[in-house]
Every structure is written in structure tokens, then in C-alpha cells.
Symmetry: C2
Subunit: 416 residues, 2 copies
Amino acid sequence: MSVTYPLGFKVAAGTAGLKPSGKSDLMLIVRDPSAASAFAAVFTANQIVGAPITIGREQRFKHLRGQLRTPRAILVNAGNSNAATGEKGIADARACMEAVAGLVKCAGEEVVVSSTGIIGRPLPVDKILAKLSELAGSLARGDDADASAAAAIMTTDLVPKAARREIATGEGKVRIGAVAKGSGMVAPRLDSPAHAPTPSATMLAFITTDASIGSRDLQLLLEDACSGSFNRISVDNHPSCSDMVVCLASGKSGVRVEKGTAEWTAFADAFIDLCRELSELVVTDGEGATRVFRVSVKGAASDTDAERIAREVVNSPLVKCAIHGRDPNWGRIVTAAGNAGVRFDPSITSLAIGSVEVYHAGIPVVAALGDPRLAEAMAGKRVECLLTVGSGPGSSWMLGCDLSKDYVAINADYTT
Amino acid sequence: MSVTYPLGFKVAAGTAGLKPSGKSDLMLIVRDPSAASAFAAVFTANQIVGAPITIGREQRFKHLRGQLRTPRAILVNAGNSNAATGEKGIADARACMEAVAGLVKCAGEEVVVSSTGIIGRPLPVDKILAKLSELAGSLARGDDADASAAAAIMTTDLVPKAARREIATGEGKVRIGAVAKGSGMVAPRLDSPAHAPTPSATMLAFITTDASIGSRDLQLLLEDACSGSFNRISVDNHPSCSDMVVCLASGKSGVRVEKGTAEWTAFADAFIDLCRELSELVVTDGEGATRVFRVSVKGAASDTDAERIAREVVNSPLVKCAIHGRDPNWGRIVTAAGNAGVRFDPSITSLAIGSVEVYHAGIPVVAALGDPRLAEAMAGKRVECLLTVGSGPGSSWMLGCDLSKDYVAINADYTT
């Protein structure tokens, strides 16, 4: 079980005919009405966004200010992103929201919508509307319903993505469940409005929990969790117009989770851990990927500097190809780091791949290239690179995947 | 002819055994002594640089301040970049400079060195030194010598790159010649110290001219030329540690080219045009490339904003794959633009591919997808994309190439 593992949620999946493959493409999550409900969401920082992002930001804004009740439902379609579609896209999304609202008995604004797929094509609203009552009629809990849900939101994903956690507290059990999708156009930079009023594949994740938690706390927790998970992954350095992570809490466990308590610590740890599991599922299933690699940077002047360096390395096509070819071509890694627009001193810069230091204080460790542990590290399903750029306090990391011929094949023939 | 087309230059090429292929790998350009000589150079902005870059920056610094005479020679090797090699790399480069100096009768500091190839391996100095007297003994002018020179500096390049211009002035003819290399690790961001005291493949270009010109004017002209040519291309968004463009003027035409004169305008135009030709040769020969595409951005708040947008689009793997697949998947273009970290209003944003507008003021032009001119534009050897992001004064452009399976093949098996 995943999204219906927590109490208070049902899910259904269906086929509206939005995917050329004819596979399932609609998912509807519905929350039981409850006073102890909560809502949190983060959205892409792309300047070009799908209609669901524009609407979702407004819903979050109103909800945080008490002007909107906690959403009752999440409707997700795959096959069409309803992005770069102007005002018509907004109207199309709202038509779907109203139709769901009529079926689950709530206000249209209490329905969250999410779309992923081809950009710049009118959403086939009629196809979606024609399927909604069937969807609402088949809402259910359990393994089968949850598995159908994870499958319906896939696009180029090869595997469905789901996770769950159970936290035992003195007051009883609390559960968290989630489904996610993402394979290409994946390099999320999700916003964090509660932390800072700042504002990217499509990477989608829908998280449910039966904790009784405040929306403000849930929003802060979601933002923290994303900064250590979804925002740390990149398949192709192209944040989507449709990325979103949404969390609904039903409160149905009856367990109050409040900051400063032991319950909070346990819940937050599990929540963050679940997001990290989902994000790793996404990058591992990156388009054409055969292995993942983590670039950890330490010794930078700031965490921001370290992140910029890690991001530059993890997105270099040359580094990604070397990872694909099991080639310990570490010169690509250090020169990619040198392109991050961050000043650091090469003479105190070192790089280790796996447990083998290949570059020490600006000097190549020539013997390293013959070390069998280096070949072993490059051949693993997960390659670990540790770049030390000085003695500053800043550190960060990014998790990427290799670049293969399959990535090109998948993306050179996607649309028309 | 290319580098020996201008009067006052000779060139030779040879094989020191630095390339696994066993092909030629050394080039030596020597300038005849002349009081009317001039020197200009620009280098990579990467934080990790090859020894030749460190030395070259120092040569430029001293030369601009009158502390160093105009270099007499340029020694280039392919097969080893002498980068990330620490102090030993510097000493190795200086050993080569001294050896050339002894042969052409100048000071060691009057020899410019340039290296391209694998990063982080000791330069095989002995192999190079053993070939230098043969090289110095075979210096020559003419088609054969110039063709050998262009071939010797190639790494993964499929074609040698050379260009020349002749400018007729009232005082007589002035000639410019050049050889260049670059195929992968190409996305130069060359510095411009004369314009601003700011500080990446390897992209190399060596330009000769017999104009009589001041070094300060030549440096400014070179920087201007690079900003409209080499800095506008990207194969793989990974500026090298070894990028450099060097220009030597012999003065041997006897024609004085000074700012504000008709000669200057003609010379500058020809110089800039030659750099553009060379840069287009490089990106056209990008690793695995089957076509190039230009992303022009206008209506931005500033040229800098426009450049950031153009750069983000031209480097998106998803856009590059769409270009490879002749797929007018313009949603990838506009969403890549949205990731540039530049604020713009999607509702006044439009995109044309070739002569066909596919996105107008935030709304898809649905009929465009059926326009045969769109398919024709996508199938060309050069695809033109014009993105209008508002009504601001800022504009820029970038020239990129498609991402093919061959790029992956070339780069997944390069080193070890």
C-alpha cells in the first residue's frame, strides 16, 4: 500500500485516452472529511508553468491564510501537461476541478490538479470529464488501488514509484504513504514559500498521512524534506513546468504531531526519509540511466557555493558519459567544478571516487588509476564522488544518473 | 593557406607520440622578428586551468604592461592538456618554452604554449623535447604546412579548421589567417581583461596577421570578436580548463591599422568575421553533431538576461535531443528558457522556429504543427529559433548542436 496506507484516503485510477500507448492516465485521491486535516505543497520555480501550478500556488496561498479549506481531492493526469496553454489551460483545469468537486461534494477550489506530459497542447478536457464519475465510483483502499494509482501517473517511467512509513508513538500509530513519478525533464527546484519567499522534469509526488498536524508545520516539514531529496536530484538539468509535491493529512490516526515533541521528531524523520526514498527511485529510473552517482562537495565557503559546484558536476554531459562508460576520467569532474562560477583554490582541492583519492591538493594521484578499488567504484550501481574544495564550512550534494544512448533515443522521438 | 597566409609567419607540425592514434600532435608557429609586432590573448574562465593558461595569463599581463616583448612562437600539443597537474605541470610547460626559445633565438617567456587532451596526466615532456629541433628545422609557409598545422592540433575533431581573410586598404593588403580546434568540452567563456577585469572543451584558435597594429587595440578587438563568436557556441556546456585564443601580428604588411580609420573598420570587420567562421566550424564539428541550431533571444531586460536564457535553451539535453530528432517539441524550448533564472512574463512570450511562429503571446499556435515549413525548418542543417520574451532592449544568441547517440559513444570510452 502507498497513498491509502494512511487512514482517511481512497484512490482510483482510470484511462481517459491521453497517452499514445493507451495505458491508464488518470488518478484521483480523495480524503475523508475531517477537522484535523492539513495541506502542504511545493511547486516548480520555472518561469513557464502549467495551469495546475498557477492554480496550486493560489490554493496554497489562500489555504495558508485560512481563506481555503484543506483540499479534499487530488486529480492527476498523465499524457498532457496543460502547460504553456494560456488562459484556456486555466479554464480547462478549473472545469476538471469543478467536475471532481461535484462528485466528492466539495468546492471546486478544494480540488488539487496536476498534469504531466506533452507541453503546449490543449488539455483533452472532454476525455477527462467523461471518465470522472467512473473514477469516483471506483475509489478504494488497498494494494491494488495503490498500484493502479502509481501506474497511472507514469510517462516515460519504467517502474512505478511508491513508498510508505509507519511511526509508532505513545499515542498510537501514524502512517505516511506516497506515489511519485519522474524519469525525464527531472531536476526539480521546488519553491519554499514558508521558509523564504523565493520561488523546476516533471517530477510529481503525492504524499498522504493520517497524522493530525498543523498545515504550517506540514508546509515547513515538506520544504525541509524537499531540500534534502527532490531538490538534490537531476536526470537532465531541465526543471519542468509541472513539478509539484503535494501532501494531504487526514488526521484520522488521532495522533497529534506537534513541534518539539518526540512524536514530531519521529514523524519528521520518517517523512524526510520517505521523500529521500522517492527521489532516489526517480533518479534511478532516469531516462536511459544504468547507474546513479552522487557528487558530495565539502570545504566550500557556503552551502550555496557547494551546491552550485555539485550541480555543475552532476549535470556535465562529459561527466555523465564517463560515469556511463565506467571511465575514471576525473579531470572532467574537477573541470566541471571549475565552471560553477564559484571561486576556489585548486591547490587545496581534492577528489575521491569511492574510497580512492585520485586528485590530492591540486596534484594527480597517478597511482590511483591502477587501483582495482577505483575500477570497482566506477562499476557499481552507485558511484560516490567526494570533492573537497577547501576548508570552508559549506557542503552539499547532488544525485545524478549517467547519460546513455537510450536517453537520446527516448528524447529524440518523443512528440510528433 | 591559413596561419602562414599573412606575411611574417612560418609553421611546422610533427608527431611526438602523445595521441593513442599515433597521429601528428605538435604544432609550432614562429613569427619573424619585427618592431611592429603585437600580441593578444584570451583564456578560459574555468577555475581549474592547464599550466599553459596560468603561464599565458602571466605573459599577457606582462606584455600589456611593457614587461614582455611580443611572443615569437606558439607551441601547441594535442593528446595531453597538462591540466590539473600542479607545479610540475608549470615546470614541464616551461621546459618546452625554453627549448623552443633556444631554437628560435628568443627568451623562454616569449614562447606561448597551449595543450589539449586528457586532463590530469603528466605531460610527456621528453617526447616533446625530442621532436622540437625537427620541428624548428621544418618551419615553412604554404598550403601544405598550414594543413599539417590544423591537423596536428585536432583531438576528437573530425575535420581540420582553418580560415583566412584579405583586406585591401589604400596602403596595401592586410592578411589574417587562423587555425582552430574543438569538438567536445566546448562551451568557451573566454575572459576579457581589457574590457573588464573579470576572469572553458577545449577550444583553441591561433590567429596570425601581418597588420601593423597596437597590442592594446588588438586585445580589445580580440575580446570583441570572441564575445560574438567563440563565446556564443556550446557543444556540451562544459568549458575546458585549456581554452585559449591567441593572436600574433607581424606588422609585415607595412599597413598601419589604427582605430578610427577606414583601415581599422575593414580590418576589424574581417577579424570578427573570421572568428565567427571558426566558431561555426567548431560547433558544426561538435562531437556527434548532425546539425546546429541557433537560439536568438530578444525583448529581455538586458543583453545579459537574454544571454542567460539563450544559454539555458541551447544547453538543455531535451532541446538538443528534439533538434536531433527533427521534433518541433517547442515546449522544451520555452520551459528551458523558464529555467534561466531570469524573470519574464510568459503571456508576452513568443517563439518562432524558422519562419513559423509556434507560440504566440503565451498561447500555442496549434495550426503551426501542421505547417510544412515547420518540418522543413527542423530538417535543415541549421535550425533557427527566435524567442521573444517581452519588449525590453536586451538581446543575445547562442549557437549549439544536437545531442546524438554518437556523442555518448565518443565520451563514454574516451580515456582509460
